[in-house]
Symmetry: C3
Subunit: 142 residues, 3 copies
């Protein structure tokens, strides 16, 4: 039984940008040499999301529209008001969207690979970029 620790970094170009990071996480699993176990991946931030869904461009548009509707950018948030917060980015929308989408995944590893369904991709959603971001990956197994 062993533990493997990896860090994946990403650099986006837009404020909101949705990326398929399956290959990056899969590579960390391959590098680990672990054949059977568990992999977890965590975005080490509070204004970007990490989750699993189908990565299809029209669906990505729908997902962006959904979080924009549920959590409007101009929502009169206190976190964006200098009277209540010293955050100067005006990014409450990104924090709240992250709370709805999640920023962590836990997957099985079997036969040396991630256990993913046919249409499943690991999706990273930058919600307050462009910034450099880190995803922490831990794999445990044998």
């Amino acid at each position: 039984m062993k533990v493997h620790h990896a860090s994946v970094t990403l650099q986006g170009e837009e404020r909101v940008e949705i990326t398929d990071v399956t290959k990056l996480v899969r590579t960390a699993v391959h590098d680990s040499g672990i054949r059977c176990g568990i992999a977890i991946a965590n975005a080490l931030h509070t204004t970007c999301a990490l989750f699993i869904n189908e990565f299809q461009s029209a669906l990505v548009d729908d997902l962006t529209a959904l979080v924009d509707r549920l959590v409007p950018s101009a929502g009169g948030y206190r976190h964006d008001d200098p009277r209540y917060s010293d955050c100067e980015r005006g990014n409450a929308d990104a924090h709240l969207r992250t709370a709805l989408l999640g920023r962590s995944i836990a997957l099985g590893v079997s036969e040396g690979d991630l256990v993913l369904g046919r249409f499943q991709s690991i999706i990273f959603a930058e919600l307050d970029g462009p910034r450099q971001r880190a995803i922490d990956v831990q794999i445990i197994g044998e």
Copy 2:
């Protein structure tokens, strides 16, 4: 320390159908012989959800009504529009509802059983059925 891998399959009868799958996941834990560790379970799909809550029929109705209100079935989604997607199921609603509810759980295992609170059930929400579905279960521990 050992790793146990199991696959649970489900076959529903309705497009939207919410089921208590606690026993199915619990059986996988018992079969593993692992007494203390971690269990993760992942639905291997992108249009059904897996999460923990109380399984009470009126609450299940409330949950269905909530996702229907937040993500209406007829939402004019691009994923459902043949100009932007070759998906013929018109199931963007199911993808987006899955993004809100989650499709993965991670639980402790102690004394050979899942660590669940008194009112907690593992709930599978079919959101684009009826279909056969698979839940991947990985248990690691000793």
Copy 3:
């Protein structure tokens, strides 16, 4: 490789109350003696949430306002109607808000500590208190 199991208890004072529990979970990791691996933490309830975000008071207000807007307290829920449920607390709002926010985290452990980004806190959201609550923590690694 070893497994460490801990239970963290909390007692709030309000119906809705959001608390930074990072230190409590971190202490469980330190107590385990595990240097490298995975930690998972689960709230053993269905009306309180556990997730990671920035713990900043104005943002906490925004988060409370968001769930209040998406899941109003007086939503005409069936779970709150004695014709359909024997729950006497009228707490459907708390169940549904928990379904949106999540009640479980999975984190890496490295160099004997939780792997958290600079602005990340582990946040416990009591949504139907005041009550005594338990968080189950499992740590696995070496």
